[in-house]
């Protein structure tokens, strides 16, 4: 299988080759083979992926290798023996468990989910069969997740192509298609927060169930689907991977002319642009704007990045058929400069990482320029047919989530409020009066059941204000909450512009001496940086620590490429070094006595 004998790989060149144009099967095969044969290149993050399936997984191994390389991660892959899904997962001494994966892919197939029941089997019989399958998968997930460090990805099952009696099957619980649909629904319900799903059922529907299943390949090579669909599989796999590891994209950077309307606003004026009823293109642009509004409503931040005069550009949103208004955009970058610089300015203004942005433009030259200058930014060339813009964006799967939280739904408003607050700051004469003027109210509590998904989400995706980047999973957070000695804090902030939601969490536990409380995780959403929230939270923690009889607090800073913003957090909060500075990049420990915290001031009042 591993025929190429490559030992070293030029990772940036390999990624460029994979990302240059639409993936093809031969490219997946050759690049996937190279990755599997090569040693991890120095300086690239490694992900240990185990792949389990009851059918041939050789194709999937190569596709996932390419998918992870495209995500900037070097895959070290363990492929379980053919058909050994269940024993490998359940036996703690198996080669799989010795491999110690960071992530497991369960490449399930309808053959794992359909019982050969007579089509007339009654509801109870089918339900019992399904419950047994669900219980089996729950056992597998539990055995695989271990202490919570290992993420699980799984295929949703694809309905088999064969049918026995056409429409009548829709009344038969035992019909294979209905068994699969009901099992998927049951697994989705009980896998929430534990499993990230690869939507192979959607992929098959898009391809056509019969073409996807390819009986020829199943009988010849025991593959679950035709390998010609692997390029599309890669996109779905990447979506699940990003959801599992908190890499979902957050914001769209949109061009204006021929992207949000037809024509050039600077030349044609608001009366001359193509938008709304009257032409097919105008109707397509209006529907595209509606779709973007829908994305905003579910938490995607919208920003403009256009070569235009800002005043003239804004008139486009006064068009009678416009669905978007100027206030829908958290940033409005209009200038005649290089768009890559404009994107960097927007990212900075919104405090978002470049890797959370998607750039959309109809102009292929602009797309190339941004892709070349800012490889972290996802670029979607929209082309020249507005009727296909929605499809072009959705086909990237960039915006897919496992589940959404209340904060996701409110995020776009929160960013718009942030922008308004920033505008206020530019008007305020000093920081103190600005912060006081925000009328901030904070609330701290021990997270409850309904908060756990959000706390886990913050753990997964917070890169900047993250002192230790331990990335505790939902299971680990539950374990902390079950431990009365552990202190777990959730922080909620609102101000006069709006509700920011649950935006910071802190986890601390006693050291062995019983006198020292150690902060093992502290993180905060970047949209509330510089609001003195850290002081508000620390004062609360000091009070709590004092009440429990602790003498000192210990804080820990583990440097990463992205968390430089909190390198001096502990000294700013009155901590002194506990250990001498070690090597560059090593963890630093800080301590302070537990007292009233009167040296720390905050502009936030208790809610």
């Amino acid at each position: 299988m591993r025929d190429e004998t490559v030992t070293g790989v030029d990772f940036p060149a390999l990624r460029a080759r994979l990302g240059a144009k639409a993936l093809t099967l031969p490219l997946i095969f050759s690049a996937g083979g190279e990755i599997l044969a090569a040693a991890p290149p120095p300086g690239v993050a490694v992900l240990r992926l185990a792949i389990l399936g009851s059918l041939t997984t050789d194709f999937i191994v190569r596709a996932t290798a390419c998918a992870l390389a495209l995500e900037g991660v070097w895959p070290v892959i363990y492929q379980a023996p053919f058909g050994a899904l269940i024993p490998e997962a359940l036996d703690p001494g198996s080669a799989l468990h010795r491999f110690a994966p960071d992530c497991v892919l369960l490449a399930t197939d309808w053959r794992d989910g359909v019982d050969p029941l007579p089509i007339g089997a009654d509801h109870e019989t089918v339900a019992a069969s399904r419950a047994a399958k669900v219980a089996l998968f729950e056992n597998l997930w539990q055995a695989l997740a271990g202490d919570g460090r290992c993420r699980i990805l799984q295929h949703l099952m694809v309905p088999p192509p064969m049918r026995f009696c056409g429409p009548a099957e829709r009344f038969a619980d035992a019909a294979p298609e209905r068994q699969v649909a009901a099992l998927n629904a049951a697994l989705l319900a009980c896998g929430r927060g534990r499993v990230s799903w690869i939507e192979t059922d959607r992929l098959a529907a898009e391809a056509g169930f019969v073409r996807f299943a390819s009986p020829g390949n199943y009988y010849a090579a025991r593959t679950g689907f035709d390998q010609r669909h692997l390029p599309d599989y890669v996109a779905y796999f990447r979506a699940a991977f990003r959801a599992a590891f908190g890499r979902a994209k957050k914001a769209l950077m949109l061009d204006l002319d021929n992207t949000l309307w037809g024509g050039v606003i600077g030349d044609d004026g608001v009366g001359g642009i193509v938008l709304g009823p009257g032409s097919p293109a105008g109707e397509a642009f209006a529907d595209w704007q509606d779709y973007l509004r829908g994305l905003r409503a579910r938490g995607i931040v919208l920003a403009v990045c256009s070569k235009n005069d800002p005043e003239i550009a804004a008139t486009g949103f006064t068009h009678p058929a416009t669905r978007l208004v100027r206030e829908d955009f958290a940033a409005f970058e209009c200038s005649w400069e290089n768009k890559a610089d404009g994107i960097k300015r927007v990212a900075q203004a919104l405090n978002l990482g470049l890797d959370s942005l998607i750039f959309l433009d109809d102009n292929p030259a602009e797309c190339d320029l941004v892709a070349g200058a800012l490889p972290e930014v996802a670029v979607v060339p929209l082309g020249d047919d507005p009727g296909r813009f929605i499809e072009r964006l959705d086909a990237t799967r960039w915006l897919y989530l496992d589940s959404y939280t209340a904060e996701d739904l409110a995020r776009a408003d929160a960013y718009a409020a942030r922008e308004a607050a920033a505008a206020e700051a530019r008007g305020a004469t000093d920081l103190g009066s600005y912060l006081d003027g925000l009328a901030m109210r904070g609330r701290i509590w021990r997270p409850e059941e309904g908060d756990i998904a959000r706390v886990a989400q913050l753990e997964q995706k917070t890169n900047q204000f993250n002192l230790t980047t331990r990335r505790f999973s939902e299971a680990e957070i539950r374990a902390f909450l079950a431990d009365d000695d552990a202190i777990v804090l959730a922080f909620h902030l609102r101000d006069k512009f709006g509700d920011h939601g649950l935006v910071s969490t802190l986890i601390a536990r006693p050291e062995a001496d019983g006198e020292t409380l150690h902060i093992v995780s502290w993180l905060m959403s970047c949209r509330v940086f510089s609001r003195t929230a850290e002081a508000f939270i620390l004062r609360h923690l000091l009070t709590l620590a004092g009440a429990r009889g602790f003498v000192r607090l210990v804080g820990e800073y583990r440097p990463t490429a992205k968390n430089g913003v909190v390198a001096d957090l502990y000294p700013r909060l009155g901590f002194i070094p506990r250990t001498a500075a070690g090597e560059e990049g090593a963890a630093l420990f800080w301590e302070r006595l537990v007292d009233g915290g009167n040296d720390i001031t905050t502009a936030i009042a208790p809610a």
Binding site: M1, F59, A221, Q227
Partner: protein, 79 residues
């Protein structure tokens, strides 16, 4: 679609077209393993607009056998 069977095989197996000839087979050709056999047959199906049976996908593991299988589906290729 052109009838360049050797070109298609070379591309799928990441080989030079010049390294292949009418006698090439899984036995004597680099990269032509059982997995690439399936990929190759899929690429030939797409390229020539035909569908092979499971038996053909599994057994047509030489240029000569592929040409024969193509002929059964009404496609003549010159090698």
């Amino acid at each position: 679609m052109s009838g360049d069977l050797l070109g298609l095989i070379a591309e799928t197996l990441s080989l030079d077209r010049a390294s292949l000839n009418a006698q090439s087979s899984a036995e004597n050709t680099k990269n032509w393993d059982s997995l690439r056999q399936v990929v190759l047959m899929g690429e030939i199906e797409s390229g020539f607009g035909i569908e092979f049976s499971a038996q053909e996908i599994s057994e047509a593991n030489s240029v000569a056998k592929i040409a024969a299988a193509l002929a059964r589906h009404g496609v003549e290729v010159s090698l």
